[in-house]
């Protein structure tokens, strides 16, 4: 266990990284699922099936990354899991109800009598909206240190809106990739309309984070860190410009480069996420509990890590297989 030095140091670090990776994968993958759900009311009646078909084979597995992320928090940092989730009791409840509604109406809308379909379409949207808003709210509260004061809640309400619009953006660029024809043109329009949420969301959190804590401020704005970190905002800015230029000209002939906005959006989410991870490390509960203080016993973590080393590559392997099988433009969802 001590090949990399003290296991009480490297094991929590490894688990924090795994958990961080799971959250990032979840935010991107279920982000586009939720985003597609958010775009439902904007789509014409005959386009709604196309929207759902684009995420049909994937949403279930995408959601599993949330279970893994929360599971890793639960198993690797039990005290932090308790502190964070009891502080976020209400938004967690709203998110869970949203996820339940979203997942169930996904199945129901295709199987219930045709007359009920609008109801389940509405539930699909409402569920996606509740989940997105509450996740954005929790993000804001987390950045503010999980204390319920009026300004903090106000900030969290703002991030709730930004993340929701941000999700609708990544949903729209997913649709640009996975659909064609009129729907694709609409998706380009929706993506242009949703970009501001992404920019304001990343911008507001980037600005707010350093001012909540002097520790984070010093981590960013001292020399030479500021030089090492400068690629983060610069690259983000370039990606935003790229997306803006690209979306104004899309769609291209023969569907050329239709995957690029999604790739750029994913890169943007990743950069923003890395910035946050850098800010908060080594804390898992901001300014209160570090990953080292709240980690489970090294023996237990080691047992999990051992399994992870074998299982995670397999998970990634068959996830890639699934995306490969359902590559190309989304087709109608059929069981036969």
């Amino acid at each position: 266990m001590d090949f990399f030095g003290d296991p009480a140091v490297w094991l929590p670090w490894a688990f924090a990284s795994l958990m961080g990776l799971s959250i990032l994968i979840y935010v991107v993958l279920d982000g586009f699922d939720l985003g597609v759900g958010l775009l439902m009311p904007l789509a014409q009646e005959d386009e709604k099936d196309g929207l759902v078909a684009s995420i049909g084979p994937f949403w279930d597995a995408n959601e599993t990354w949330l279970v893994l992320a929360i599971g890793l928090l639960l198993v690797a940092f039990p005290p932090a899991h308790g502190v964070i989730l009891t502080a976020l009791y209400l938004p967690v409840f709203i998110m869970l109800v949203g996820l339940i509604l979203r997942g169930v109406s996904f199945e129901m809308r295709a199987k219930a009598p045709i007359a009920q379909k609008p109801v389940w379409n509405a539930a699909f949207f409402a569920g996606s909206l509740m989940a997105s808003l509450s996740q954005g709210f929790m993000l804001g509260m987390y950045v503010m240190g999980l204390t319920w004061t009026l300004p903090h809640v106000g900030f969290a309400l703002l991030t709730a809106v930004f993340l929701t619009v941000g999700y609708s953006f990544i949903g729209a660029v997913w649709l640009i990739w996975k659909t064609g024809g009129e729907l694709q043109k609409h998706a380009v329009r929706w993506a242009k309309g949703g970009m501001w949420g992404l920019i304001l969301g990343i911008g507001s959190i980037s600005l707010a984070t350093p001012f909540v804590s002097t520790r984070i401020f010093d981590k960013w704005f001292s020399f030479p860190e500021i030089v090492y970190l400068s690629p983060l905002p610069i690259l983000s800015g370039l990606l935003v410009v790229f997306l803006w230029v690209q979306l104004r000209r899309m769609p291209f002939e023969n569907d050329r480069l239709s995957w690029t906005p999604f790739a750029a959006a994913t890169a943007l989410f990743t950069l923003a996420y890395c910035g946050m991870a850098y800010s908060f490390y080594p804390y898992v509960v901001p300014e209160k509990l570090t990953i080292y203080e709240s980690a489970s016993a090294a023996e237990s973590l080691f047992i999990i890590l051992l399994g992870t080393l074998f299982v995670l590559p397999a998970i990634i392997g068959y996830t890639v297989l699934s995306y490969y099988i359902f590559r190309g433009k989304a087709t109608e969802l059929r069981y036969d």
């Binding site: 597995a61 989730l85 009891t86 199945e107 399994g307 998970i315 069981y335």
Partner: protein
């Protein structure tokens, strides 16, 4: 009501809602694999029709199970932070292995199983079906391991009040795990057997004469009739295991107050915990002693042994355990009678000419597996109280300090949604059955046999 009781009700409501759907998907996954393999072997269209109908039920149940399962993973933190803080070193790895070896497997291959039939070769699709069924079973295994460990913990040591794992083999293969796992797998098998038999019977009552319905009815009845004696045997052995490790639970199940010999088997009574006696008792002399000790003079533990000197009650609430247990047994007996009568009818009339009465009885029992499963879980889980982890962590020490009002309001929210979703779920299954009865095609494609590799291209507008 206080936060503790409300949190218990909330967790009970969430996990009750959740278990309904895995109970269906665990065995239905294997049943779908059976249909698919029969089709590959015989090329008979009816097996594919049966597959196509039940895969819809599977997809719906799976989605319900996934979303309600996510709720569970958050509930540990929101309502029971003390659980992971005390036993996280054991529960954590078990939950992690469940997510990694089972959750992802089933979730990813579900996409291929449901929507990939026209995109991959037939054997890949069969393999995906197998992996989904295997994944749900693995998931059951890990969850049952953790749950059983909470009933019969071993392979750990306590350091400063926190559990540390010392022997993973002992943790995984703890004394009650094999019994509980077999009991749950059989429960799932019975639930699905009665669901398939019941819905098929309903379709026949509505006038469906399809070969797939007859075959499904036959498969359902035979599976039910074969599984129920196994379940009775497994349940009995599980009970003896409980007697050894959790005597207070067995005392509550039997409604036995004093430790003594010649204990009767109580068929009905109203236990009175205040006065520590039973009212309106109807019983079979020496019955409980025979079942638990296999002789009339067998000594059965009584509830009065589990009251501390100062009057603190260390056994579960008797009436809850007592009645849950009887509901489970009663449902099981009804299952035994109906399924065996069903086999006799099958031999006499054949699946195509079953009289109305047994068809009505089977339709009425479509969801009977749910009742037995829930009643069984209530017996074992309430029976563990006041412990959360037997002898290690009491339930009241694990609860969060969230205000009672917050727990109550979210509880009401959950209950409303769950009620609506169960109605919608049962409604959609009957709607699918009605639609299938009207003869609306389940598949318009010529399905390739298992050994052919060419996959027909979908026609536009199909």
């Amino acid at each position: 009501m206080d936060t503790l009781l409300l949190s218990r009700i909330q967790f009970g409501a969430n996990i009750s809602f959740h278990i309904l759907f895995p109970t269906i998907t665990i065995a239905l996954g294997w049943m779908l694999l059976f249909f698919k393999l029969r089709f590959s072997a015989t090329g008979d269209r009816k097996w594919m029709d049966a597959y196509m109908f039940w895969v819809k039920v599977f997809a719906l149940s799976f989605a319900m199970g996934v979303v309600s399962g996510i709720t569970m993973s958050f509930q540990f933190g929101t309502n029971w932070p003390g659980f992971m803080e005390t036993v996280g070193n054991v529960a954590g790895p078990l939950l992690a292995y469940e997510i990694m070896t089972a959750f992802f497997l089933e979730a990813v291959f579900l996409g291929i199983m449901l929507f990939g039939a026209s995109k991959v070769k037939s054997w890949v699709h069969t393999l995906a079906t197998f992996l989904v069924a295997f994944g749900t079973t693995m998931s059951t295994f890990w969850i049952i391991v953790l749950n059983s460990w909470m009933h019969t913990p071993q392979g750990y040591e306590l350091i400063d009040g926190v559990v540390h794992a010392t022997n993973w083999f002992k943790i995984i293969f703890n004394p009650s795990m094999p019994y509980r796992f077999v009991h749950m797998m059989l429960a799932s098998g019975l639930t699905v057997a009665f669901l398939i038999a019941g819905i098929s019977a309903l379709r026949m009552l509505w006038g469906d004469k399809g070969e797939d319905v007859k075959s499904a009815l036959r498969v359902g009845i035979i599976a039910a009739a074969g599984l129920i004696p196994l379940q009775i045997l497994a349940g009995d052995m599980h009970g003896l295991n409980t007697l050894e490790y959790q005597p207070a639970k067995v005392a509550a199940m039997e409604g036995n107050w004093e430790t003594r010999s010649n204990v009767p088997l109580i068929l009905f009574a109203i236990p009175d915990q205040e006065n520590r006696t039973n009212h309106y008792e109807i019983s079979i002399p020496n019955g409980a002693s025979y079942i638990l000790k296999h002789k009339a003079e067998g000594v059965v533990p009584g509830l009065n042994d589990f009251v501390a000197e100062d009057g603190t009650i260390l056994h579960p609430r008797v009436s809850a355990v007592f009645f849950s247990f009887r509901i489970m047994i009663g449902t099981g007996v009804a299952m035994l009678l109906l399924s065996w009568a069903g086999v006799v009818m099958l031999r006499k009339y054949g699946a195509g000419h079953m009289p109305k009465l047994p068809l009505i009885a089977f339709s009425a029992m479509s969801f009977s597996g749910w009742i037995a499963t829930l009643a069984g879980w209530y017996t074992t889980e309430i029976g563990r109280q006041p412990w959360l982890v037997q002898g290690v962590l009491s339930t009241k020490d694990a609860v969060s300090d969230v205000p009672a009002g917050m727990v109550l309001s979210t509880l009401i929210g959950y209950l409303v949604i769950y009620a609506a979703l169960i109605i919608a779920y049962m409604g959609v299954i009957t709607y699918l059955a009605r639609k299938a009865t009207r003869g609306e095609p389940l598949t318009s494609r010529q399905y390739p046999r298992g050994n052919t590799t060419d996959v027909p291209v979908l026609q536009p507008g199909e």
